[in-house]
Each structure stands twice: as C-alpha cells, then as structure tokens.
C-alpha cells in the first residue's frame, strides 16, 4: 500500500471508524485514541496490509482495542454497574432516536459491536464474524438479541412516556 492509498484510507474511513468507536465506548477522547491507534498500526504495517482489506483491518483493530479495554476495566465496570446511571435514566427520553441510543448503551459489548458493524457499516455476517472472531450463527444470534432487546426497550419506554 502506498502513502497515497494510506491517505485515501484516512479520508475515507476515519469518520466512520470514529463514529463506530464513539458509539461503542461513548467517550470522545477514547474514541479518538482508538482511531489514532488503528491508523498508527496500519501505518506500521503499510507494506503488509492489502489495500482492499484496509477497512476490515481498521475496524477489526478498533474492535480488538475495545475488547482489550473491556478486559482491563472489567472490575471497574462491575463496580459501576451496581451504581445508578444518571445519564440513561428512562425519564429523560424525548423521542425514539433517544430511546434507541439509550437502549444501545444498555446492550452488552459484543451485541453493541456487532449491531453497529452491521448497521453503521453494512458489513455482512461473514465479515463481522471475521472481525469479532465469532461464528456466523453467533453473529446472527447476537444481532437478533440486540434488536429484540431494543424493540422491547422501545415498547416499554413508549408505554411509560
């Protein structure tokens, strides 16, 4: 891959990669760091990464960074999960999109990851399976569960509103 192709990748994929990371980690600084790390790793492997598979490489890198971060912070998350979440309280929702965002935030990491890969980037089950090291059936099931959870979340919230 040439420098020109690398720069083309930056211009083409950085925004999508940032949105994907931001949706999953919900932290702008952390999402920016993930994007920076992903492109840094790509730059270091510029001679080995195929240009046709750069997008997959970048998203897989961000997914791995998320997994690493989740592992590091698992204990902290367990502690935080026991505390009330002021941001995602049901009472502040005003529209369906906001309800969806809140629902997505309550998905577990893998469900949120596969769902955003599917909806944001339009990846196939096979591609998502390769990125996340899951089987295709597992990807389907996680997406099904995520959508069902969101549907039920919307239904409950609509009733409450």
């Amino acid at each position: 891959m040439t420098v020109q192709e690398y720069n083309a990748c930056v211009r083409e994929f950085s925004d999508g990669l940032y949105r994907f990371a931001l949706k999953n980690v919900r932290d702008t600084d952390l999402a920016q760091d993930f994007v920076q790390d992903a492109f840094e790793r790509l730059w270091l492997r510029i001679d080995t990464v195929d240009y046709q598979r750069v997008k997959s490489y970048l998203f897989r890198t961000v997914v791995n960074l998320q997994i690493d971060r989740s592992r590091r912070q698992s204990l902290q998350q367990q502690h935080l999960s026991s505390l009330p979440d002021p941001v995602h309280s049901p009472g502040v929702a005003h529209d369906v999109q906001q309800l969806i965002d809140e629902g997505v935030a309550q998905l577990n990491d893998i469900q949120r990851t596969v769902l955003t890969l599917r909806d944001f980037e339009g990846y196939s089950y096979q591609e998502i399976a390769e990125m996340t090291a899951l089987s295709v059936d597992q990807v389907k099931v996680y997406i099904f569960r995520a959508r069902r959870f969101l549907k039920q979340y919307i239904g409950k919230m609509e009733v409450l509103i």
């Binding site: 040439t2 420098v3 690398y6 720069n7 930056v10 211009r11 950085s14 925004d15 999508g16 990669l17 940032y18 949105r19 931001l22 949706k23 920016q32 994007v35 920076q36 492109f39 730059w43 510029i46 369906v96 999109q97 969806i100 629902g103 997505v104 769902l115 955003t116 909806d119 944001f120 059936d137 389907k140 099931v141 997406i143 099904f144 569960r145 995520a146 959508r147 069902r148 969101l150 549907k151 919307i154 239904g155």
Partner: protein, 362 residues
Amino acid sequence: MKLTEVQIADLILAYHDGTLSKAQTALLNDFLAANPDFQFDLEDPITLFPEKRSYTGPSLLKTNLENMAYATEEGHPYEKLAIGNLEGILSPNEELLLKQLGQDTNYQKVAAQIQHTQLQPDLNITYPRIETLLKEAPIRRIHFKSVVATISASAAAILLTIFLIGQENDQPGSIQKKTLVQAKLKANKKGIINHSGEVTTGLFASATNTKVADHPHNVDLPPRDCIVEEIIPSAPENPEIFVTQNVNQATLTANNYQAPSTAPYSDQNAGPNTPEQNNRQVVKSALAKEPVTVKTFLLQKTNERLFGTTAPTADLRYETMARYASETIGIPVRYDVEEGTATDKIVFQLGPISFERSRAKK
C-alpha cells in the same frame, strides 16, 4: 329433562347443519319445551363465510420458522419474522408467509418496532484530528545495493585513473626525462644553454633553483621556482675561508675530480664552475630572496592542512585521499605502499576489489 353441555351443542349444531335424526329431533323438542331460553340460539344462527385470505396464525408461523437462524432463540414468531426481514435473510417460504401477514396489525406493530432498532449513524460526527493521521511525506525507498554499487564503481574508476596516472608519473625514467627537458627549457630561458647545446655560464645560472628538479610535481610551474621551500645558505661571514674552500674545490677539479652533481638534470656539457663563479654564485644565492606568492602560500597551507606537510609525496597524497574516500563512502578504501628490497608493492583496495602493482624502488 337434563342434557349435558356437549349434548346440547351437538343438537344445536346438527339442527343448523340439517343433520338431525328423528330421535335427535324428538329429543331437541323435549329439551326446548323444558328450556325455552335455548330457542334464541336456534332462531338466529351465526353463519361464518370463508375469507379469500387465510390467516394461518402463530402455530403455522412456528412451523415455518423452525429453519430460521433464530429458531432456538426465545421470541415471538412475529419478532423473528420481522428481524429476519430487516436482516434480509428470509427464505422463500418465509417471504411468502410475510406477504400473507402484510396486513396484520399486530405484525405491523412489531415490524415497526423492529425497524426502529436499525441504527443510523450520525453523519455530522466526524473525526476531528484527521490532519494528524495524514502522512504527506513520501516513502523514499533507497535501493542501497544499486546506490552503493554506483558510488563504488564511480569512485573506483576515478581512483583507478588517478592511481594509473600517478604510476605513470612515478616511473623513474619518465621523471628523469621530463625533468631533464624541463630543466633544459628553463636553462634556455635564462640563457644558460643555447640551442646548439653550448653552455653559456652566467650570473643567473647559479641563481637557478636546482630543487625544482628534485620535485617533479612542480616542474610545470613558471621559472620563478619558489614552490618548494628552499634553504639558501647564508653568505659566509669570512669570505677568505669560503674562497679557500672554493680553491680546494678548484684544485680537485683540476685533478680531474668531478664533484657529484646535485641536480640530476644538469647538463654534462655545462661543466664545473670556476672558483670565482662559485664564489659569486654563493654570494648571489645568499643575497637573493625569492618572494612567496599568494598562490604558493595558499597551496602550501592547503597541503599542510590536507597532508600534514607543505610538500607531500604522491604516495602520501594517495593514502590521504583513500582515507578520505573511505570515511566518505563508508566502504574500505586503502592505498598502501609495501616497501620491498628491489621493488615496492602498491596496493589499492576499494571495498572487495583490490589492485596490486609493483613499482621500481626510487
């Protein structure tokens, strides 16, 4: 008369269907006489007409969705069908089923909720530090082998040329011949020897710097031969002693003794000077002060800086140049003179390439 609920239902349904037997008709009449409230069911029957679109219901959905990816997952069949439709993974049978359920309000409600679960990226969110990711500097792929090979070949060609030219100049015969001709030309300019080869001794002949011949590198310089630092003996304080020495030398000359010439190019026809001439020559040399030109001064200083001496030899020059080349190019370049008994061996090395030549000892 008492009848069970099942018996009553059978009698009423048979009545509406027109399949009552005589015994059943008698039984029904007896029952209605005892229970007139049931007369209403017989007078206004509810007739259901079959619709063109058949509603299959969840039981059929469950049967048809058994092969779906979500078959083992908990969830209503409507949810499975709606999610499968959203994901675009329905089989042809499931597509057909979906068409049949298209007008079903319950399914539409579920499908609408499932449709909301499709996430839409906010395109207004962009990565703010994109400029930091761009790499404008092109990658310079240096092919070291070709570069080194080119530099080495060029340097080898240059140094070999210098080496060969130097060898040619270092040949004793050529030097002697060249310096002899040059000296003759100089002497001719100063009127020492004429065109026929006859010696015309004069004042300027004794003042000629004979060290020019000792340094063949300087023979191309103009007649003012001050490039080599010359040590001119000072005039003797006691002229008588000096004259005595010259007389003794004259005596030796008269006895057919020929003093060794200090100048290898000296013309044999010139012959020894007379004591008077020698005396005048020494006095003249002592009084003569050859000026040092700016060019000469700079040359001497440059030689001193480069080679550590004002008059470097050819070998010293080549050795120094080879050392500079080695430090500059980064590959070993060497010029060595290995002195032997009869001949000197000159070794020139450029990386893995080396040349050896023999040179007559000077």
